[in-house]
């Protein structure tokens, strides 16, 4: 029983990280119908921004509240800027081209970031994994028996941040002018432009928002698993993408539910069966969902008019 409870906690902790990354995929897809395969790598770059900031702060400042806030802020602002640059120089020139072109470019950006960061030159980090400094003082909050079930302050924090950001996004998309503009652009960006909506600016803002979100998610991931490496984005990005598709890509609550489900499924597979099956079951789950409900759990299948 205690083992089951511990697996449940571990799975939720993994799922919340996937959820935050999946939100970025879902937002960009919602607006542009573009699967931004570089999203996971933007997350990785964000983690390195946070890593450098944490080291510049020094050991004493790291576990203070403002220190943590500064680390998150630096990573999120840095990534927002990176997201802006990627959109401006990689995707915008291709916006009127077939959608496949942008998809290939996204994969190109992804590889440029993940392999570029393996170079060992000056500011670039090199290929080997690093330990992420402890920026949040670990604290056990909830223990059953003699440490039979352990829950940590940062696990609760991640879940709270993920749910908070989800609600905030939902509010942003459905209750604000910016959200309405986003939805209009998503519906038809040429017509939206004719109606006086600054499409380029809306799209750039969407990218910046999703990249900042990725940076936040990346930091929570680094705090959870204590390790940073240039290839982490490929792996987490792929899993989060699967989560977004399971939930119904383009759907904000769907991304969160899909990610939590995926986190739990993986945890239980590894805990009760074998780690070899982790990816097979994750992708099997994806195929099953797509077979039974092609739009994802929360998605609608839009009838394409021919």
């Amino acid at each position: 029983m205690s083992q089951l409870l511990q697996h449940l906690i571990n799975g939720l902790a993994a799922g919340t990280i996937y959820a935050l990354v999946a939100l970025g995929y879902t937002m960009v897809y919602g607006v542009l119908k573009l699967i931004n395969f570089a999203h996971g790598d933007v997350m990785m770059v964000g983690v390195y921004f946070g890593y450098s900031t944490a080291f510049m702060l020094g050991r004493a400042a790291r576990q203070s509240l403002w220190g943590v806030a500064l680390v998150f802020l630096a990573a999120m602002v840095g990534c927002a800027l990176l997201g802006f640059l990627i959109e401006r120089f990689a995707y915008r020139p291709l916006r009127e081209k077939p959608r496949l072109t942008a998809l290939i470019t996204a994969i190109g950006i992804s590889f440029t970031l993940s392999y570029g960061f393996q170079l060992d030159l000056g500011p670039l980090p090199g290929a080997s994994p690093r330990a992420f400094p402890q920026i949040i003082k670990p604290n056990e909050w909830f223990i059953i028996g003699d440490r039979d079930v352990v829950i940590w302050n940062w696990q609760v924090l991640s879940l709270a941040i993920a749910v908070g950001l989800m609600l905030l996004l939902q509010f942003l998309v459905f209750r604000t002018r910016f959200g309405r503009a986003m939805r209009a652009v998503s519906f038809d960006h040429r017509t939206a432009a004719l109606m006086g909506i600054p499409t380029d600016r809306i799209i750039a803002l969407t990218f910046m928002l999703s990249s900042a979100l990725a940076a936040g998610a990346g930091l929570l991931y680094a705090i959870k698993d204590t390790s940073v490496s240039p290839l982490m984005g490929l792996y987490v990005g792929l899993k989060a993408f699967v989560a977004a598709v399971i939930g119904g890509i383009g759907n904000v609550p769907g991304a969160v539910v899909g990610a939590l489900l995926l986190g739990l499924v993986e945890e239980f597979v590894v805990g009760y069966a074998a780690s070899t099956w982790r990816d097979a079951v994750a992708f099997g789950f994806l195929i099953l969902v797509l077979l039974v409900k092609p739009g994802g759990l929360f998605g609608r299948v839009a009838a394409e008019k021919v």
């Binding site: 083992q3 511990q6 571990n10 401006r88 990689a90 080997s128 390790s227 993986e266 239980f268 070899t276």
Partner: protein, 398 residues
């Protein structure tokens, strides 16, 4: 819309240039870049010297291992030259970079054999590179000694291929014996990397030996190289309440595993193999790895006089404590020099026979006697992880 194009092009060009430079470095006629003390790439060796080929990773992910290897070999060669050389000749090395890639390793060996006509070849660290090299060396019938490739298949490539390190399964045996006899443990869990033949090999032998010696393996869990979340496996292991966990993986994963084990309240020692031997283990594992044990080829703290003499000489020349790879490379080069001395001439077949007859050779990382499979029979060191250092615990004989 046009502006980004030159930008992207420039970035691509830069990347391509960086790759070019790397690829050319070893073959460029520049002794400084290749690290060869005397001979320049491609040029014939100076008259009166005997050329030894070295192929190891000087760049890429295994670069720290490869550089230690090169240093160890050059220290041994310098000492041999100071002592008067062999057969009235001085020794020289020609060093090529394998970049840690099997295809580069194979081409480096081809160059060493066809262009440089070396007498024998030393290298590489990673078994996959040595396997590619052994293929070429065996086909050309040039003797090759790998200092530190532990995969059993390397020397199976043929009768010209030797090694001076013990093979993978032996480490599983050592830790099983150590756990039973020295630590007196009875319940151990195993957490192995199911994407690595190295890890599987060590784990299999460990389980067999530990059970034979009356111990009980209470859980066997696995992970995949590159994972960063091991909580599911550790939670399952914790339920079995083991006395220790055998994790025969690499430092990059072990450090994180240790942290997550402590976090889940699993406060038992971890045990492992030579894949743990890296400064990075402390960075990744922090205080969580303290008190764990692993088997290794040697310890720089081994009070043995031979070891201490080597450590001093290495420190004087390179200014750092030699790791196991440097020690094994030093041994490999000395075994080669010893064989050249004993051989009637420097023909490949004579050298092969002389290397094969190596017996009771006093190496830094143990006494080397090569068996009929060209693998050494030697003991291993067990180290305990302390606060930023390894403490020498004991040696375990086969």
């Amino acid at each position: 819309m046009r502006r980004p194009v030159p930008l992207v092009l420039a970035a691509l060009l830069l990347g391509a240039l960086a790759c070019e430079k790397k690829a050319q470095a070893p073959s460029a006629p520049n002794p400084g870049a290749s690290g060869a003390p005397s001979a320049a790439g491609g040029a014939p060796a100076p008259a009166g010297t005997l050329l030894l080929g070295v192929a190891t990773a000087l760049t890429g992910g295994q670069a720290t291992f490869g550089i230690s290897t090169r240093n160890g070999i050059e220290l041994a060669i310098a000492e041999a030259n100071e002592a008067g050389g062999v057969k009235g000749q001085k020794l020289a090395t020609r060093v090529y970079d394998t970049q840690g890639k099997p295809e580069e390793a194979a081409s480096a060996v081809t160059r060493l054999i066809n262009q440089d006509h070396v007498a024998l070849i030393l290298g590489d660290v990673a078994s996959s590179n040595s396997l590619a090299m052994a293929e070429k060396a065996q086909a050309a019938k040039v003797p090759m000694i790998t200092p530190s490739s532990t995969n059993p298949d390397v020397t199976k490539k043929g009768d010209y291929i030797f090694r001076v390190c013990f093979i993978d399964p032996f480490q599983g045996f050592v830790m099983a014996k150590f756990a039973r006899e020295n630590l007196k443990l009875s319940k151990v869990a195993v957490l192995k990397d199911n994407r690595s033949a190295y890890s599987e090999g060590l784990a299999d032998v460990f389980v067999r030996k530990f059970t034979e010696m009356g111990g009980k393996v209470v859980a066997t869990e696995s992970y995949s190289q590159g994972d960063t979340d091991y909580r599911a496996q550790l939670t399952a292991i914790k339920k079995q309440k083991p006395d220790a966990i055998y994790v025969p993986g690499y430092y990059s994963e072990v450090g994180i595993i240790a942290r997550q084990a402590r976090e889940l309240g699993l406060n038992v020692p971890l045990m492992g193999g030579d894949g743990w031997d890296s400064e990075k283990l402390f960075e990744l594992g922090g205080s969580a790895v303290e008190g764990s044990y692993f088997s290794n080829h040697y310890s720089s703290q081994d009070p043995n006089e031979r070891v201490q003499k080597f450590v001093q000489a290495y420190k004087a020349k390179y200014g750092g404590v030699p790791d196991a790879l440097a020690a094994l490379a030093y041994d490999a080069a000395r075994v080669a020099v010893d064989a050249i001395k004993r051989a009637p001439d420097t023909k490949p077949a004579s050298l092969r026979d002389a290397i094969g007859q190596t017996k009771d050779f006093a190496g830094v990382a143990g006494t080397i006697t090569l068996d009929e499979n060209r693998n050494p029979v030697k003991s291993a060191a067990v180290l305990k992880v302390g606060d930023g250092t390894y403490e020498f615990v004991t040696t375990v004989a086969p």
